[in-house]
Subunit: 255 residues, 2 copies
């Protein structure tokens, strides 16, 4: 049974891509078959996985809009997971989807024939609650919410939770919250500790025990086209993402 | 003569809102008449200016789409600038604009009757190259590009510069680059220094001399509904934004 996890938060720069790439790599290195879908026109998860978004024969646009087979678009990455690469063509896909019927279900429909090949499908979402993110939420079993422990990120949670509630009513009643992941966590910073305390107060065990520290190796790894778990596997950032993968596998019975 | 500055970068979390709010406050405290426009459905610039986005009688939607007069929507803030508040209704405005004819010119058209009341109009853009950001670029005299000195932000510059070039061809030939602003700058971090060197190499004097340091007071101020230049005017973050306001005023002859 495969599990589809959307990594989403409309607040920008909270660690969606860093989480998607390093979680995919960590799950893959511990034996799971993983597909990483880059649903952001910025194409960061693609570049961060070592695939050049500007030099693709086929991209997620061809698969999502034109119906090209998955096997004709994916790239296998050094850490062993497959990536469905994205680039600026996704902006055109957004406008194209707005014109169609079942426009929110498109990703779910396109995924179903290939789903049984993977244990996990990880979807990196853009910083917006647009039709692309809605497609990810309709297709997903769970939503992983990366959270910088700062005011604007906390303030934006309400809108995200309302959108998730709306998706449950409109097409995906079983959409669960996989968890809230504290990222770029700096324990010396009282604002960070304060927001973290509020998260645990409101969300309890929906907050992952694993906390991702601020660690420069996580920011350096993408320029080498590698996840941190390969670029510097003993770094605090890499170790934290391996721990996150373990926490997720235990939740769903390791696959 | 008023100057319209769009603060834009599709990369999320690079400091667009923090720059918009603190630059508006700094220009206002040094005597300029300033309008801050919140064009992001997240409504962060609105909250960061002390206006409750969830309790508005009228928002930017009413002004932009329904043609309500500016004086009926703006709020005067403690630092003296006016804010045109935004909230999630902007997502509906986006879909509404896509249906209209002069859809990219709407903001420019709506601004022109009130422009002579202000020395500066600062537009906080969402983390996307969508119809809202396009409206800001069509209306603007200059684009201020906040830049975190990290790989994904550097990598995303090409797409942003191509969009700016497209806007010059399609409707705003005089659109200038106000400057690239290095934000959350940590000089101890070799990745930051490295990316900063590349920015100066490619963009020369288009890179602002003023550098905004990473400073926790900038992240704390929004939870008090205040710009940092009021919350803690002697902090390194506040001083840097006052210096940026000075650099911009000198460029255009202080107004
Ligand atoms: N734990 C961390 N420690 C240090 N740097 C980090 C960490 N996580 C992410 N970063 C860096 O912070 C920046 C933002 O992270 P990232 O791009 O993953 O966020 P995002 O939510 O995907 O952004 P966007 O909203 O643009 O999609 C990147 O430059 C990344 O390399
Ligand atoms: N110089 C700085 N030092 C420390 N923290 C900062 C600094 N600038 C911004 N921040 C914090 O970093 C986070 C991101 O900044 P901000 O929200 O202004 O970026 P943005 O580009 O507007 O994000 P979005 O893409 O979501 O609109 C916020 O929590 C903010 O408080
Ligand atoms: Mg991202
Ligand atoms: Mg912002």
């Amino acid at each position: 049974m495969s599990r589809i996890i959307a990594v989403a938060n409309q607040k920008g720069g909270v660690g969606k891509t860093t989480t998607s790439v390093n979680l995919s790599a960590s799950l893959s290195l511990s034996g799971s078959k993983v597909l990483l879908i880059d649903l952001d026109p910025q194409g960061n998860a693609t570049m961060g996985s070592g695939v050049n978004k500007n030099d693709l024969e086929a991209s997620i646009y061809d698969w999502l809009v034109d119906g090209v087979a998955l096997s004709g678009v994916v790239h296998r990455c050094q850490a062993g997971y497959e990536v469905l690469p994205g680039n600026a063509d996704l902006t055109a896909a957004e406008l194209e989807l707005l014109r169609q019927d079942r426009r929110e279900q498109r990703l779910k429909d396109r995924l179903s024939p290939d789903l049984d090949q993977f244990d996990y499908v990880i979807i990196d979402c853009p910083p917006s609650l647009n039709i692309l993110t809605l497609n990810a939420l309709i297709a997903a079993d769970g939503v992983l919410i990366p959270m910088q422990c700062e005011y604007y990120a906390l303030e934006g949670l309400t809108a995200l939770l309302e959108t998730i509630e709306g998706v449950r009513e409109r097409g995906n009643p079983d959409l669960a919250i996989e968890g809230l992941l504290r990222t770029m966590y700096d324990p010396r910073n009282s604002l960070t500790r304060d927001v973290s305390r509020q998260l645990i107060q409101y969300f309890g065990d929906k907050v992952f025990r694993t906390v991702i520290p601020r660690n420069v190796r996580l920011a350096e790894a993408p320029s080498h086209g590698l996840p941190a778990v390969l670029y510097d596997r003993h770094s605090r950032g890499a170790v934290a993402y391996m721990a996150l993968a373990g926490e997720i596998r235990r939740k769903h019975g390791a696959t």
